[in-house]
Symmetry: C2
Subunit: 197 residues, 2 copies
């Protein structure tokens, strides 16, 4: 009995802690490959090409787009970021699981092309209380509170397009929960290839 | 954010150890209710009505069938066994998870009525080697080997109608895997009720 490779997408609102969770999960699952993004931004001190990012120039990035070699891409503050398709597909095809950490918009692009992926939404705790807290702390104008709540509401609503929701209330618990999701997905009958029976 | 109750079905070939796994999983998940079968067989020494089984007579059992109060039922060696529907539905409706241990035929009856259930197939290890082992031990006639392999082959093929497969190679690992499946299913977006956002 062998398995197809599974694409795990760790996603959610910015600042929710999805990067920390992803790092901890990969440390416990060293057999999962992390997908590395390509970017046109300059490497920061300590960053290595092929580890944090693949650093490319704008022409190279345009080429990747034109050749349909990106699963998703976005322009953030005038820098381009994208997910190389070949790395993901090569690993999945040989039964290797791949993990990808990405924002909500990026996750939607991935889902359009990889609907079989396992989409995990990391949610902030106590969403219900955000409004109350924002008002109570008294630092924000009513308009900025309204904007933040609207943004938060939109982000939380996108949850429904995901497969799983993990509340990041306590890091250790959130990490264990994502690990359980990985274990469960690997036992799914639909992910098995019936080579034997 | 609240949840719908989830029905977990632990099933698989006879002798695979599903009862032992179910007991260990329930010990670790005391918030899951175990569904108790109704039966017409006589209580054995030490068995208590409502704990191992609901002991009923044949007339009462026929009544349960006629009133559509059983999710599934079967006649095994002239004794009737069945799964009371009300207990399962009452708990699921109030957000309480329920577990059911049942053979393959019973699981199919459950699936017809509860397609949203989570169907977990407990598989024996080293299925591939069964044929070799049976021949090597030399105790069985070719006909009995053929019969056993055909039965085993049919049982293993039914796996494809389930959601998950858990190999019972090592009890502790199998129990942990079922617990991971429970954790993962509880995070599924489709099992959440959007009361808040």
């Amino acid at each position: 009995m062998t398995r197809k490779g599974i694409l795990f997408i760790i996603s959610g609102p910015s600042g929710v802690g999805k990067g920390t969770i992803k790092d901890a999960v990969l440390k416990k699952n060293t057999d999962i490959k992390l997908s590395i993004s390509a970017t046109t931004r300059e490497p920061r001190s300590g960053e290595t090409n092929g580890r944090e990012y693949y650093f490319v120039d704008e022409d190279q990035f345009r080429q990747l787009i034109d050749n349909d070699e990106l699963l998703e891409w976005a322009n953030v503050y005038d820098n381009m970021y994208g997910t190389p398709r070949q790395f993901v597909e090569k690993n999945l095809n040989r039964g290797q699981d791949v993990m990808l950490e990405i924002d909500i918009q990026g996750a939607f692009q991935i889902k359009a092309r990889k609907p079989d992926g396992v989409f995990i939404f990391i949610a902030p705790p106590n969403i219900e209380e955000l409004s109350v807290r924002l008002e109570e702390r008294g630092k924000d104008t009513p308009e900025s509170i309204e904007l933040r709540l609207a943004a938060c509401k939109w982000e939380m609503e996108q949850m429904k397009h995901y497969d799983y929701v993990v509340l990041n209330h306590e890091l250790e618990t959130a990490v264990d929960t994502v690990c359980s999701i990985i274990t469960a997905e690997r036992c799914k009958v639909k992910n098995l290839i019936w080579s034997v029976i």
